[in-house]
């Protein structure tokens, strides 16, 4: 199987590898896949609380070259987007960008799931956040 140039590029030079503080209220963490399936992706986003713009994203992936490339690309794409915009990212776009063969389409699906899981986690945190008490003058 030969890989597309873009997959090779992401594999050799993965973007945004790393971790953020899971506990931070600005961070959303998505962990998808399962070791038994051979694919696990962790994708984290840091969201500006005022603008709802994703300021930073990080990923770590256990999986094949296509899986690593899909999640690396996902972090590139969500950066600078609002939450709403990030939710419109489709796996088919990842397939097209990386020229993934049919047998690797599921890697792109997992990357889309990872984005949604990260956003979902961040949203949950915002919903359960205790409102800051306003100092009485």
């Amino acid at each position: 199987m030969s890989y597309s140039e873009k997959v090779i590029d992401h594999y050799n030079n993965p973007r945004n590898v790393g971790s953020m503080d899971k506990q931070s209220s600005d961070v959303g963490t998505g962990l998808v896949g399962a070791p038994e399936c051979g694919d696990v992706m962790k994708l984290q986003i840091k969201v500006n609380p005022e603008t709802n713009v994703i300021e930073d994203a990080k990923f770590k992936t256990f999986g094949c070259g296509s899986a690593i490339a899909s999640s690396s690309l996902a972090t590139e794409w969500v950066k600078g987007k609002t939450i709403a915009e990030a939710l419109t990212i489709k796996n088919t776009e990842i397939v097209k960008e990386l020229a993934l063969p049919p047998v690797k389409i599921h890697c792109s699906v997992l990357a889309e799931d990872a984005i949604r899981a990260a956003i979902g986690d961040w949203k949950k945190k915002q919903a359960s956040a205790v409102p800051v008490a306003v100092e009485a003058k």
Binding site: E5, V17, G38, F62, C64, G65, A67
Partner: protein, 434 residues
């Protein structure tokens, strides 16, 4: 844990390289890339074997069955010489060697040939779950024809339990087929004991010895073997040719042929003989008869060197299958937290294979590793190294260094490694993908 890693400049993946020579920093010897370490998949043809074959393509091209002229006699002579050489390697007589198109055909002929011939006697066949698909798929087909097949499990080390085998045998059992050595994990089965048990019970014993012959000494009498499958291209011979040993005495084994048409090979396998291929197979066996003791010793040394270098540089590395009962050239290791295909991508100047689902056409992880009880996650993280006649110590050192460096890089990318380092028990996590 001290990590001594020699870092190399990253090799561009996907770029077609003609063989490049890289100087290996640790001992100054050169290695030519790409390195081939997938000798269980196939082997290069030994130059001496190629030389033996060539005349039968050019001037000695006669059909070995042409009895009336020198062209035919030359072909026949080549065939009979090859028969003797193969027989010698396994302790058989020349009359007991049948030529086929390869071990897959030999397996089909042995199993289906016995099943059909001994149908009146019984319809039960015993095999093991770790057999090659050539055996498993043949058994599955026989099940469709009304045969009953028992698939014995294997223990954690990959070995069949002789008590399980004994218990599985009944008065309808006509055949036991268990491979001498496994192509994925290199584990060697106790074939002499299995053969002994079969003979006591009057059951025919077939062994697929594709990976075994030429690496480990075989004696069909001492090891109580009735049918043995042999493959040319696993022993530095050509592809498309193999053999089947069919015992003639104590017991005399009879087979129903798969292929009709002229009655060649004592009626067991019709068809014009592949004279050049057979000459090559014969020469390959002759070389093994001569060189096997030293070669197997050297293979084991190289394999152990590779194993020790990798295991001393990395933690959480697991060998799949028994080290004690194993082919001298095989190493099958799982690298926890790193997926197999991504590892292969990182060592793209080295030819090996993986038990990962991502590398199989069906997206199923290795069934052999599964049978050992290896978790799917470690099956996905496995790499199979098959060393061979033409591998050198310098190559082993280079491979060990590249594998180590790539595993370390991929672990930095791995969420599983991160979680493990944080002390999280991965088995207790509720995964989203389950």
């Amino acid at each position: 844990m001290s990590t001594q890693v020699t870092t190399f400049p990253p090799v561009e993946i996907g770029v077609q390289t003609d063989a490049q020579t890289k100087t290996q920093p640790t001992n100054g010897h050169a290695v030519t890339l790409p390195i081939y370490m997938d000798n269980h998949a196939t082997t290069p043809v030994d130059p001496r074997v190629l030389e033996e074959m060539l005349p039968y393509f050019t001037n000695k091209f006669g059909n070995a069955a042409s009895r009336n002229h020198s062209f035919g006699w030359a072909g026949e002579e080549a065939i009979e010489t090859a028969r003797e050489r193969i027989a010698k390697l396994i302790g058989a007589t020349p009359k007991e060697i049948i030529f086929t198109s390869g071990a897959t055909e030999s397996d089909n002929l042995a199993i289906k040939g016995v099943a059909e011939m001994y149908r009146e006697k019984g319809n039960h066949i015993i095999t093991a779950v770790t057999e090659h698909k050539a055996v498993l798929d043949t058994c599955k087909r026989l099940e469709k024809y009304g045969f009953r097949v028992t698939y014995l499990p294997v223990q954690k080390d990959g070995l069949v339990d002789l008590d399980d085998l004994k218990r599985a045998m009944d008065e309808k059992t006509i055949l036991v087929t268990i491979m001498a050595a496994n192509n994925e994990i290199g584990v060697v089965q106790p074939i002499a004991e299995i053969g002994k048990l079969c003979h006591e019970k009057g059951v025919i014993f077939h062994t697929d010895a594709t990976q075994y012959v030429g690496k480990v000494p075989m004696d069909v009498i001492k090891q109580n073997l009735d049918l043995v499958s042999i493959s040319g291209h696993k022993m530095y011979g050509p592809k498309g040719v193999g053999a089947l040993y069919v015992r003639r005495k104590n017991p005399r084994v009879q087979l129903s042929p798969l292929i009709d048409g002229g009655g060649h090979e004592r009626g067991m396998r019709s068809g014009t003989l592949n004279v050049p291929g057979i000459a090559g197979l014969g020469k390959a066996c002759a070389i093994c008869s001569e060189e096997m003791p030293q070669e197997s010793c050297r293979m084991a040394g190289l394999r152990n060197r590779l194993r020790d270098k990798i295991m001393s540089s990395l933690d959480e590395v697991y060998i799949n299958g028994s080290m004690e009962h194993r082919l001298p050239n095989n190493l099958n290791i799982s690298f926890a937290y790193v997926e197999g295909e991504s590892l292969l991508m990182g060592i793209n100047d080295i030819a090996v294979s993986s038990g990962s689902a991502c590398t199989s056409a069906t997206l199923e992880p290795s069934y052999v590793l599964k049978a050992l009880g290896t978790g799917d996650d470690l099956a996905h993280s496995s790499i199979r190294f098959g060393l061979g006649r033409f591998n050198t110590e310098a190559e082993v050192d280079y491979v060990a260094a590249r594998v180590t460096e790539t595993v370390q890089r991929l672990r930095e990318l791995s969420p599983l490694y991160e979680m493990a380092k944080e002390g999280i028990d991965l088995k207790s996590v509720k995964w989203a993908g389950e």
